[in-house]
């Protein structure tokens, strides 16, 4: 019965009232504001996903007409990309955990942080607004390819403005994290003592800062073309549709790393904690994040192999794409090696992290098929691609997000969720996910194009299987969400450090006090994951002496 930890009120108790949330400058509260808003949009878009799967259960019309289907996949894609997965881990867990991991009391610019969230809300309202006036939400696909996006009568301008505003939210978050990481690390912590999640946010932040303006200006160009009739991308008024594709993917390929790198950071936190040993290859993981972020800028052309690209351009974009695969593979090996001689507790966050490795490997390996020129020609723009990016973004980044949620849940609320329910939800999600998307890989190789409202009978079985999978998956999601919401109210209280982690976030009480730490956190001796109770091998000591 120690009550010493109660010296300060926690960040929930520190202030009360709605305004204390909407205008908070506390990074933890802003993280939670993001969690609730992003969570809301994820649920909406997941519903749209399940609706599409229902429509694709049988060939022909099941529920909705072709035009509605086109608007649904566009809205689903726009929400999932711009309102869910791009902000997800950085905005929610970056905000909540980065200052804790660095042992500091907030991000560098708390007001800017609040503005980011408000920009997110405004962008989100723009996107929702398209539902209620004119000819309804855009029907262009989330890629807004010209010249169709210039000509269609649906609300493309508004949708594009939503993405534009959201871009600013992302830029400001990135800027904030870069400065925070440079300036606010606790005394004694250098870059190489930083937890890997911080490293991954750092690499991500540079992409957010440098790549997002390009999509901003490109989207404005679409609006200019639609409203003012300036011929930029539509050839019938003198524009160049291929230019649009280049500009779009110069941002949107690096954006894939905005989704993937933070997820990799989460996995790099979770695995050492549950293996109770140091991460294998700290530097390899940290620096490969930077390498991926850098090389990732130069591979965008792999989305355009069938656009009439010249041979030499195809050659270069293809080989660079293969080179990005190497640091990614190295990370996977490092994570698996971190389990070796660990002392492992199989808890839900770890299961999500391992499911990330499995799903993300499928996403990456199918990416090789798309990076190779000859095979890309065949499967480009088919359901193979749909499966590939869901494996990366949902099975990868999405699962890491859920893992992070289960990992920091006790830190955020000071309570534990029902573990049996969490396990059940995980299993349903994992099975449902693979049953939904694996058949899409097959039907894609068989030749079914994507964005197809209707399909030929030969594709029926695989589509049926996929739709069944979506039912299992959605059941898992619902159980997971209910479990977390209920546990947040009624879960059993836990100590500040239920997983026995040694990064600084576990050195404060749960929920943390407003200013994070009652007393200066102590850096673990010999690196952020150097578990004091684990044995250090003899050879390892010798090597260290050599260095």
């Amino acid at each position: 019965m120690t009550v010493a930890a109660l010296s300060q009120p926690n960040f929930f108790q520190a202030k009360k009232g709605i305004a204390s949330w909407l205008f908070t400058l506390d990074h933890k509260r802003i993280g939670l504001l993001y969690l609730y808003s992003i969570g809301f949009f994820f649920i909406v878009a997941a519903g749209l996903g399940v609706l599409m799967r229902l429509e694709l259960l049988n060939p022909g019309r099941d529920l909705i007409d072709a035009q509605t289907y086109n608007q649904v996949f566009t809205l689903h894609g726009v929400i999932m990309i711009f309102l869910f997965i791009i902000p997800s881990i950085p905005a929610v867990f970056g905000n909540f955990a980065l200052p804790l991991l660095l042992g500091t009391d907030d991000v560098a610019f708390p007001k800017l942080n609040l503005i980011s969230w408000w920009l997110y809300v405004i962008g989100a309202l723009f996107a929702l607004f398209t539902l209620f006036y004119g000819d309804g939400p855009a029907d262009t696909g989330w890629t807004f390819y010209a010249p169709y996006s210039v000509r269609t009568g649906t609300n493309v301008s508004m949708t594009v403005m939503a993405a534009f505003v959201l871009g600013f939210s992302s830029i400001l978050t990135g800027l904030n994290f870069i400065v925070t990481i440079h300036r606010l690390k606790t005394p004694g912590m250098g870059f190489n003592q930083m937890p890997l999640f911080a490293w991954s946010l750092y690499a991500t932040a540079w992409i957010q800062l440098l790549a997002t303006p390009i999509i901003g200006i490109t989207l404005l160009m679409i609006v200019a073309e639609r409203v003012l009739g300036i011929g930029l991308f539509d050839p019938s008024i003198g524009g160049d549709p291929i230019l649009y594709q280049h500009l779009f993917w110069i941002y949107s390929h690096p954006a894939v790393y905005i989704m993937a790198l933070p997820a990799m950071g989460i996995v790099s936190e979770v695995i050492p904690t549950f293996a109770q040993r140091t991460i294998f290859g700290y530097k390899a993981i940290a620096y490969s994040s930077m390498a991926i972020a850098f090389v990732g800028y130069f591979v965008w052309g792999h989305h355009m192999f069938t656009s009439g690209m010249s041979g030499p351009a195809g050659f270069i974009f293809s080989i660079l794409t293969f080179f990005v695969a190497i640091p990614t593979a190295v990370k996977v090996f490092n994570w698996v090696a971190t389990l070796y001689k660990g002392s492992i507790s199989i808890e839900v966050p770890l299961l999500f992290a391992l499911a990330f490795i499995f799903n993300f490997s499928i996403g990456g390996l199918t990416g090789l098929v798309l990076g190779a020129l000859a095979t890309d020609v065949h499967v480009h723009d088919t359901h193979f691609v749909v499966a590939h990016f869901h494996y990366v973004m949902f099975g990868g980044a999405g699962f890491a997000f859920f893992g992070a949620l289960h990992y920091w849940f006790p830190k955020i609320w000071g309570k534990m969720y029902n573990k049996a329910m969490a396990n059940l939800a995980f299993i349903l999600l994992f099975i449902g996910f693979n049953l939904t998307y694996f058949p899409m890989l097959i039907v894609g190789i068989m030749g079914m194009p994507r964005r197809y409202y209707d399909y030929l009978p030969e594709f029926h079985e695989m589509n049926m299987l996929s739709t069944f999978g979506s039912w299992i998956m959605i059941t898992g999601l619902i159980i997971m969400i209910i479990n977390l919401v209920v546990s947040k109210q009624r879960g059993a209280k836990v100590s500040g450090n239920p997983w026995n982690g040694i990064t600084l976030d576990w050195q404060t009480s749960s929920p943390p006090p407003l200013h994070n730490f009652d007393k200066m956190p102590v850096l673990p001796e010999g690196g952020p994951y150097n578990y004091p109770d684990a044995i250090s091998t003899h050879e390892e000591k010798e090597k260290k002496d050599d260095e």
Binding site: T140, A275, Q276, G281, S307, I326, V330, K341, A372, I535
Partner: protein, 301 residues
């Protein structure tokens, strides 16, 4: 025999990459599961901090590097021949427009579905009349974007008799998933007979030919069915409620309204239909052609 000359190379690359992928996926997963149980807290109460192992790390960087270079190489080698059609290939123009394919053969004949002779290189010159499309023949492993203002081409040699699916693979609006057709591969002699017996277009009302050529009929039916746009049946003289500058007005469809609808389609949209789906044909359809269209529409009572 494979359906086309590209099948062997593409499939080989596919099996190579998928083979390596399955090997790694199974390997990683098996090791992961093994470690998970072998080093559970119960079995291994005290962990060991292993920070790195230079030899291992060099191996698992170098091996994937070699493998990806091999995969890249086959991808490139099997793709390169697609870039240039052999000299003397038979040239067919493939026209994509919302939401219909038209194929124009060397002697000027046209068809909705592609017919090609066996064992003869065929080069498709790809033309788009409106937005992006992509011509995709899965059985032949070929696909190429059909982009307005860009002269793309694709080629193949069909090696097996039969009929294969042909899809539009690049999203092009409402009826994208219905923009499909077929490729039929015939013996050379059958191909020539087919070409000769293709109905001669001059038998048709010239107005109908123009409607077909511009794919008007993929959105406007001739029998009263509602498609993307209003049906042509009984159009002339019909009373329609239209939206002009945001206001509803009623008008009787006459010559002037039809001319306006062809040249500035979005000026007045019949109530209940979507704006922006039809593009202006001002530059593609001449005034004489419009006369012929109107003449034909008069016959569609």
């Amino acid at each position: 025999m494979n359906a086309s000359n590209f099948v062997e190379g593409v499939d080989f690359t596919m099996y190579l990459i998928l083979g390596i992928s399955v090997f790694f996926l199974v390997g990683i997963t098996a090791v992961m599961i093994y470690f998970l149980f072998r080093y559970r807290k119960k079995n291994n109460p005290v962990a060991t901090n292993i920070t790195h192992n230079n030899k291992l790390e060099v191996i698992w960087t170098v091996v994937p590097t070699i493998l990806v270079v091999i995969m890249f190489y086959y991808g490139w080698a099997e793709y390169k021949p697609m870039l240039r059609a052999p000299k003397g290939a038979m040239e067919i123009e493939a026209i994509g427009q919302m939401w219909k394919w038209t194929f124009v053969y060397p002697d000027g004949k046209m068809s909705d579905s592609l017919v090609v002779p066996l064992d003869k290189p065929v080069k498709l010159n790809l033309v788009s009349k409106d937005v992006l499309h992509a011509l995709y023949i899965p059985a032949f492993r070929v696909k190429q974007d059909v982009t307005p203002g860009v002269n793309n081409m694709m080629w193949f040699t069909a090696q097996k008799l039969g009929t294969y699916d042909l899809f539009c693979a690049e999203y092009c609006g409402q009826l994208h998933s219905y923009m499909l057709s077929t490729v039929t591969v015939l013996e050379s002699s059958d191909y020539n007979t087919w070409l000769v017996t293709q109905p001669d277009l001059s038998d048709e009302h010239p107005g109908l030919t123009i409607l077909k050529k511009n794919a008007c009929l993929s959105c406007h039916s001739r029998d009263g069915t509602r498609l993307v746009g209003p049906s042509f049946k009984g159009l002339l003289g019909r009373n329609e409620v239209v939206i002009r500058d945001g206001n509803e007005t009623e008008l009787m469809v006459d010559r002037d309204y039809i001319i306006e609808s062809i040249k500035i389609p979005n000026a007045a949209i019949v109530k209940g239909y979507l704006q922006g789906l039809m593009i202006s044909y001002e530059t593609t359809v001449s005034d004489e052609e419009i006369d012929q269209i109107i003449n034909y529409l008069e016959s569609l009572k």
